[in-house]
């Protein structure tokens, strides 16, 4: 396998608030290969968007990337080294903000945001916004940028692109705006596009159209994608490989087929049980019980234990290791669950949680109070 174009290792991003430190991304690792469409799945609040912002180095105050390495085509987007006093500090190889802006953002990695209604500036014409980004990232004249923009609008299926070029965002529907945003991303000819829940805000039919469009274009341009979503249906439809996030951690990673058919982590399983699946028919859907605890004070041990139907006492005590548990015939399949470790899971007592039947009390644990 060739070298991945994006390699994320042990990335940590924290938010320093008055209430305490929020470990929004707590040591995640994954890779994106050329032309690959990698999914990043999880409930709201799992840290997906923080992860993508971290990759773009766009984390806003009071958030801060505190550790790990992100390598893009050999360039260190994030990199830390140990200082003389043992503290972590930015390594000299890590790109400066200016370099990030000029070399990476838009040019190499483009991003598509969740809400197309908000992502276009309402007071500027659509074409002008498109043209500006193209000019910045492709070093072309303004005139040429306009041609590219119009072509790209056509490409993403906007009728009468020359005319629509002159329109304002509010004159577009939501789906159309998302097409514009996609056109924006593609027009800059990046090698990687991070799509942060790009279809969540759209209705289902439009979502389908957009997904088809992305698949087509992805094949045409051979662009790699990181596709952030909470919708496993979308994942199943377009992704090659999937990372499942829970409370700042990636708890399972596998090829899309393996994930759906050889699910390892109880959380992933719970997620899958909560959605209708075309390949299986079930009598009823089982939503995941409880609410995800706050990342400011995550549960001890396995972070999912408070909601895990298979939780046992050991889950509370032991933080599981993220390890490859793939069968020989599988490609890699990482999971982070004590079930696959030799820490006494089988002997441990079952734990009372809201997801186990025994649990019938209040929401104390679910609040993330831990013990």
């Amino acid at each position: 396998m060739s070298e991945p174009i994006l390699k994320v290792e042990n990335l940590k991003t924290q938010f320093f608030t008055e209430e305490g430190t929020v470990r929004a991304v707590d040591g995640i690792s994954f890779e994106v290969n050329e032309g690959e469409l990698v999914g990043l799945v999880g409930e709201s609040g799992a840290g997906k968007s923080v992860a993508t912002s971290s990759i773009m180095r766009l984390v806003e105050d009071p958030g801060e990337i505190v550790g790990g390495t992100v390598t893009y085509k050999g360039k260190k987007i994030v990199d830390f080294e140990e200082g003389p006093d043992g503290e972590l500090r930015r390594s000299p190889e890590m790109l400066s903000n200016e370099e990030m802006r000029k070399q990476i953002r838009g040019r190499e990695i483009a991003i598509i945001f969740q809400d197309p209604m908000e992502a276009l500036n309402p007071v500027f014409k659509v074409g002008a916004q498109l043209r500006e980004f193209i000019e910045i990232n492709r070093d072309v004249s303004s005139k040429r940028a306009k041609e590219i923009a119009v072509d790209m609008l056509r490409e993403v299926g906007i009728p009468e692109p020359e005319k629509r070029y002159e329109s304002y965002p509010h004159q577009f529907s939501g789906g159309m705006r998302q097409r514009v945003i996609i056109a924006m991303a593609l027009a800059c000819e990046p090698d990687l596009i991070i799509a942060d829940e790009p279809t969540t805000a759209l209705d289902v039919t439009v979502e389908g159209q957009i997904l088809d469009l992305v698949e087509d274009l992805q094949q045409k341009y051979n662009t790699s994608f990181v596709w952030v979503t909470h919708d496993l249906g979308v994942v199943a439809e377009i992704c090659d490989r999937v990372n499942v996030m829970y409370l700042g951690e990636i708890i399972e990673q596998a090829d899309v087929d393996d994930l759906f058919h050889a699910t390892r982590h109880p959380y992933t399983e719970a997620l899958l049980n909560s959605i209708p699946r075309p390949d299986q028919s079930v009598d009823e859907l089982n939503p995941i019980k409880g609410v995800m605890p706050e990342a400011i004070n995550p549960p001890s041990g396995c972070r999912f234990h408070t909601r895990c139907p298979e939780a046992r006492t050991v889950c509370k005590e032991v933080h599981p290791t993220y390890q490859d548990v793939s069968d020989p015939d599988e490609s890699s399949h990482f999971v982070s669950c004590v079930k696959y470790e030799d820490v006494g899971y089988d002997d441990a007592e079952s734990l009372d949680t809201e997801a186990t039947d025994a649990f019938s009390g209040g929401l104390v644990e679910a609040r993330g109070d831990g013990q």
């Binding site: 802006r101 990476i104 483009a110 945001f113 969740q114 908000e118 007071v123 990232n137 945003i181």
Partner: protein, 332 residues
């Protein structure tokens, strides 16, 4: 489309407001105790003198007759004759209005020119020392009585330091012959600005502070918008983001506030004009009220109302200019 038509229709829509202004003022002035004729003639007018005056100004008519007469006169652009000055109200207003508008314009310019950069810097350096300083300045600005600022400025800059004059606002188009030490029009303008500085700060501080506060919060809000993040994600520089991508959007609440502050500023002009002995509309209306010069009270209030209405329309027009989502014909 239809910017002109829109303006005209807005003007027409403002007619009820103007009529309302006339009605309220009419009822209030009528309720003021005391006999204007007596104030005018002194305490010992002869009966026929008083009668003559009453008849001349229509004061012998019942209230509703006077009210409708006044409305008709207004339609004919006749605001009557000032009892106090003995000249047509329109003439008096024509003399005084430019002064007040000049002062308003200058203080709003001052307010905007300081508030916008201050608000933006404050938002960009949020929770940094610059932000704290600018927020404290703005907080004090909205909390300080403007006339007090004026008094302090006079003490310090006119009396102690003797840098700026304390009175006598000169209009920039005044003839050089009427201005001491001004050889030509340029000299007049220089003098005019010199005289304008203290009143401008006095009247403009409150606006400046209010504008800074709203500029900061709207800039903060806009800087958190998705489209700003998007621009950032596409490698647009921070400077350009602030100057271009966020700037226009951030001005929208400010534009609305500018319109709303207009009447407040007209009120503030009364105080500023009093402190600096400026003969503008504010002092005119106070003189009119104190002397029960009904025609003049009515006329000046009416003009204040018009200034407000026009101000609001201008606000709307500039809002529409900045925000393409707003259209004049009511369609999306």
């Amino acid at each position: 489309m239809g910017r002109l038509r829109y303006t005209i229709s807005r003007l027409l829509q403002s007619i009820p407001v103007i009529v309302g202004v006339i009605t309220i003022t009419f009822l209030l002035t009528d309720a003021i105790p005391g006999d204007p004729v007596q104030i005018m003639l002194g305490p010992s007018p002869s009966a026929q003198q008083a009668e003559a005056i009453r008849a001349k100004f229509g004061l012998d008519q019942p209230l509703h007759v006077r009210y409708f007469n006044y409305l008709f006169d207004v339609v004919r652009l006749d605001l009557g004759t000032s009892l106090y000055y003995g000249v047509p109200v329109t003439q008096k207003i024509a003399e005084r209005l430019p002064v007040t508008l000049y002062l308003l314009l200058s203080s709003f310019t001052f307010a905007l020119l300081t508030a916008v950069p201050l608000g933006i810097i404050s938002a960009k350096r949020r929770n940094k020392p610059t932000d704290h300083i600018s927020r404290v300045v703005a907080l004090f600005g909205v909390s300080t009585p403007s006339f007090w600022i004026g008094l302090m400025l006079i003490i310090v800059f006119s009396f102690w330091l003797d840098i700026f004059p304390a009175t006598n606002l000169i209009l920039p188009w005044e003839s050089p012959a009427n201005v001491d030490g001004a050889a030509n029009q340029l000299g007049v303008i220089a003098k005019s600005i010199h005289h304008l500085i203290l009143p401008t700060i006095t009247l403009g501080t409150l606006q400046m502070a209010a504008f800074t506060r709203i500029e900061r919060s709207s800039m903060l809000e806009v800087l958190g918008e998705e489209y700003v993040k998007l621009a950032r994600a596409y490698g647009v520089s921070e400077t350009k983001i602030v100057r271009k991508h966020a700037f226009r959007n951030a001005q929208l609440p400010l534009i609305t506030l500018v319109g709303l502050q207009l009447t407040g500023a007209l009120g503030g002009a009364v105080l500023t004009e009093t402190v600096f002995s400026i003969n503008g509309m504010g002092r005119l209306i106070i003189t009119a009220i104190q002397n029960q010069d009904f025609q003049l009270v009515m006329g000046t209030t009416l003009v204040f109302g018009l200034v407000f209405v026009i101000g609001v329309i201008l606000t709307d027009l500039s809002y529409a200019y900045v925000d393409p989502r707003v259209s004049f014909d009511g369609s999306e």
